[in-house]
Symmetry: C2
DNA sequence: GTCTATACGCCGATAGAC
DNA sequence: GTCTATCGGCGTATAGAC
């Protein structure tokens, strides 16, 4: 594998471990290469982060992009939650530090706004599909669909940070996974009870490993 | 007013405007005093932030501490939401940057963990009281009360950051206030419809000004 | 209490040899 | 492609005069 890829991997690993303030020197040191070498492969620090966001976007699309003709049954929705948890864990530093990253790089900010807009759309669509498949005791008003999607998105993206703030020790995977139970609870009132319990059961299964 | 108070006020104002990375030099400059003078009043930068958290805690207690013998009617709950919005706006930098502040000061971290634990407890109590006062179509299971309280807390505390990330321009008060409508939506399934609409109506009234 | 001046450390980035 | 060496900027904090 080329040094370029290794630098990105190292950046993700180190930032997940120590926060987004990890410097280019530390990345180079961790790979036993020189700072100068790193700057041969990347114009600057920002460019590294931008490419990480590209990877993140791809991974999340694979999770949230629902096929048009497929019915959203409970196990498929559980896939979304479990996949969402994995993405959250893999790139947790990014979610934790999105604001700090974005304020130092306007180009990244634009890309991240796109990322959020697309993500919220996908969540809203998935929610509508789930409700259409198995409606619950309450049905959301038309404007409420979007608000609920935003609530889900904010809660999902904020979870790594919440965990980091409260825990003195570095966060474990299970604490990130817990977010998905909190998320699913927000859907519960709008879904049929048996459908909801099926989703939760599948989720637990998928995230056990 | 003494310089000590003025420094804290300046810190809040500047950090709300430019983010938590505002330096001691900038605070001093903004007040037309010298950096040395600032360090006469405070041991270090961290101490300033710690005192800001103390103020925040007091302000929030005034909003969330529900009197034991008072019934939680719709207008009182609306007070909580409106008061919560005001606190969120007044100290928005702190919510936006809690992790960064906390990671550089273990003493602050401990205080902030207390702050969160107490806040979540207060939210949970308020939620239980509201549900007891005006139960809706769904009633939360016993373990769900806490989870919902956590959801509310995370969403509430994460909102300023969410706004900062998405907006290129500095956030306005109204965008912060919008969070409360999203929060209240999470309660809706568990509250009687007329009670809920009364809460929302009061909220709008209170936050209009 | 308030000032001026400055030490110290850190990090991003570049120059230029190999 | 990879290295060594170094510049330049910024931010915290202190020393010591007034």
């Amino acid at each position: 594998m080329g040094n370029r890829e290794r630098i990105i991997d190292a950046a993700i690993e180190l930032m997940n471990r120590s926060g987004s303030a990890v410097g280019t020197n530390q990345m180079a040191e961790h790979l036993s290469i020189s700072p100068g070498n790193l700057y041969y492969h990347f114009r600057n620090r920002e460019q590294i982060v931008r490419e990480i966001l590209q990877r993140l976007r791809c991974d999340l699309d694979a999770v949230l992009e629902i096929e048009a003709d497929q019915s959203l049954d409970a196990s498929r929705l559980a896939d979304c939650f479990a996949g969402g948890a994995k993405v959250l864990w893999k790139y947790r530093f990014f979610f934790s530090a999105s604001l700090e990253l974005v304020t130092r790089d306007e180009q990244l900010a634009e890309a991240y706004r796109d990322f959020c807009a697309r993500g919220i759309d996908q969540v809203e669509k998935a929610f509508r599909r789930a409700v259409a498949t198995a409606p619950g005791r309450l049905s959301p008003a038309s404007t409420e669909n979007r608000m609920i999607a935003v609530n889900l998105w904010v809660l999902w993206t904020s979870w790594p940070r919440y965990v980091d703030v409260l825990r003195a020790e570095p966060a474990g995977e299970s604490e990130i996974f817990r977010s998905q139970h909190h998320l699913s609870l927000m859907l519960k009132p709008y879904l049929a009870p048996d459908y909801y319990t099926a989703v939760v059961t599948h989720m637990r299964e998928l995230m056990r490993r």
